[in-house]
């Protein structure tokens, strides 16, 4: 009865037992270590903190509404437009990949003010809406903004019960002001119809381009 197979089976049987004992006790030690380390908990510290990577022990949970991680000042979360600095250039609308910014510009009759960096403002913003529920937080609009009025802020907790509440309106014009601005613009347009037509005509005269066909001088491939 006693042969090599029985021998191997027996060795496997007892090595199994030692394996059980080792692995099971290792597991128990590990969990007990975690249980012991749970006396301490992580303080809500941001990545900028020097000790950020040192605190790897203890309870890792952050009880969010009661405490939260500090966010860097240049956090890329909610968009904010400083409407006083906005020249309504429409660049952000054009660059936005998800079309979440909606602008209604009204051209002013004259310079209506200056931004804080000295740029002249020539266009009224009748409407400047950003739909944060569409926003993909790519930050492209903030990069193209010439006056740096459109920025991403560090506020990230702006959940609402109604999705419509995610549309943030930055325009400050009252309906009356919008109406007045529109009327002013129309009156100015009426005042210079001929001028614009003349300029268009003169510009048409200057067009001299004509497509010229350049014949290829390369020898044509012969069919064989």
């Amino acid at each position: 009865m006693w042969n090599l197979e029985t021998h191997d089976a027996l060795i496997k049987y007892f090595s199994n037992i030692t394996h059980f004992v080792q692995t099971l006790s290792n597991g128990l030690k590990l969990t007990l270590k975690h249980l012991w380390e749970s006396r301490t908990e992580r303080d809500p510290m941001g990545i900028a903190d020097e000790d950020y990577f040192l605190k790897d022990k203890g309870i890792a949970t952050l009880q969010y509404p009661k405490e939260s991680l500090p966010v860097p000042d240049h956090g890329r979360y909610k968009l904010h437009n400083e409407i006083d600095d906005c020249i309504v250039c429409d660049l952000c609308v054009k660059v936005c990949p998800v079309n979440c910014i909606e602008i209604e510009p009204i051209r002013a009759t004259d310079i209506i003010g200056k931004t804080s960096d000295g740029t002249n403002k020539r266009i009224h913003a009748a409407k400047f809406d950003i739909d944060m529920s569409k926003c993909c937080f790519c930050g492209l609009c903030t990069t193209v903004c010439p006056t740096e009025c459109l920025t991403m802020t560090k506020s990230y907790d702006f959940s609402t019960f109604d999705r419509a509440d995610h549309v943030y309106e930055f325009a400050e014009m009252t309906p009356l002001q919008i109406l007045e601005a529109k009327q002013a613009f129309e009156e100015k347009q009426k005042a210079k119809p001929t001028a614009s037509a003349q300029s268009m005509k003169s510009s048409r005269d200057k067009v001299v381009f004509k497509p010229i066909m350049i014949k290829s001088k390369l020898p044509k491939k012969k069919d064989e």
Binding site: G27, T31, H34, L35, S38, I59, A60, T61, Q63
Partner: protein, 353 residues
């Protein structure tokens, strides 16, 4: 009789504490907080859960076998609670005076299979049935190593009465106790009491018996890593899938009850029951100072709580066994070693005489 009156309210209170404790221990092991909102540090969480649970509707599925479905959990709990009737509380308060207490306890605890089967079969649900069938296979197989490890103790103590077994492991013993039970060494520790008179020290082989007992006990209690009957990742809830409200609560109560019962039994059989762990040394009569009605209750409950903690610790450490691994563990490892230990304990007992 008085003892039994202590255990019912104690069990209810224990379940409240243990559910909270288990959730906290689980959380700390996983570096979480656990319940934190209801009351300071969440201590009223279980109470709130209980309130919610007893307000829920007691749903009986249409296709279920109604009488069996309704009776299942009640039988399950009754059987487990009957097991508590045999437990002593201190040297004055014994449980039911049954000469063959251990045997009856084992028999009664085995009956919980019936409750599980009734619940699983009566639910008329495939998950419940799977759970019930697994529970039966598991509990029936683990009865054997459990019985063998208890047999070792019974052989050493020559008694099946739980109060008598406990009395032998301390100062109140009538027989002389020798260090490690070896009479040939001639070191008598009868008057020292404490740790030195416990069964695991009196007969060190019983430490291995205890391991077998504890593993088999975990399986009896359907605790992780042997929680196949109710493995929620595979069987939804196992045999209590279809239960809701208070009937589900009874299952919960019974589960924690059997967990506590197994711990009590382990303490009484191996770790001196209500006897103090401190022993007398010269003029320091630690054992005498820490013995007395209340001290004894304290020691019994303290040791039991430690074992309950170990059960929870194990639960949150190990992954669940597969069915074939479960059967292998029972039949190929625990049962042969149980038999071997019965043999060795017999020899040890001969050396104790």
């Amino acid at each position: 009789m008085h003892t039994f009156l202590f255990y019912l309210p104690f069990l209810l209170f224990f379940v409240l504490v243990a559910v909270y404790g288990e959730r906290k221990i689980a959380a700390f092991i996983q570096s979480r907080f656990g319940p934190m909102d209801v009351g300071p540090k969440g201590i009223f969480q279980t109470l709130a859960d209980l309130l919610k649970m007893i307000q829920k509707e007691d749903i009986v599925p249409n296709a279920a076998d109604k009488p069996i479905f309704l009776l299942g959990p009640i039988l399950f709990f009754t059987v487990i609670f009957a097991g508590f009737s045999m437990l002593p509380l201190n040297s004055n308060m014994a449980g039911a005076a049954i000469e063959s207490g251990v045997l009856l306890l084992m028999a009664v605890v085995s009956l919980d299979v019936l409750g599980i089967l009734m619940a699983g079969w009566g639910s008329n649900n495939k998950f419940s049935l799977f759970g019930a069938v697994r529970a039966i296979a598991q509990i029936v197989s683990f009865e054997i190593p459990l019985g063998l490890s208890v047999l070792c103790v019974v052989m050493i103590c020559q008694s099946m009465d739980l109060q008598e077994i406990t009395r032998q492991q301390g100062l109140y013993t009538t027989d002389p106790i020798f260090l490690f039970g070896l009479k040939g060494m001639g070191i008598e520790v009868t008057q020292m009491g404490g740790l030195l008179s416990w069964n695991v020290v009196k007969s060190p082989l019983l430490l291995f018996s205890f391991l077998i007992f504890f593993i088999a006990g975990l399986a009896e209690a359907n605790r992780a890593p042997f929680d196949l009957p109710e493995s929620e990742s595979e069987l939804v809830g196992g045999y209590h899938t279809e239960y809701s409200g208070f009937r589900w609560g009874i299952f919960m109560l019974a589960e924690y009850g059997i967990m506590l019962l197994i711990s009590f039994l382990a303490v009484i059989l191996f770790f001196g029951g209500w006897n103090t762990p401190f022993f007398n040394m010269g003029s320091f009569q630690w054992a005498h100072w820490t013995m007395g009605s209340y001290w004894e209750v304290f020691w019994l409950l303290f040791k039991t709580y430690i074992l309950v903690f170990v059960q929870m610790w194990i639960r949150w450490t190990y992954p669940r066994l597969r069915v074939d691994q479960l059967m292998t563990l029972s039949w190929k490892y625990l049962t042969p070693f149980g038999l071997l230990l019965v043999f060795l304990c017999g020899i040890w007992k001969l050396m104790m005489l």
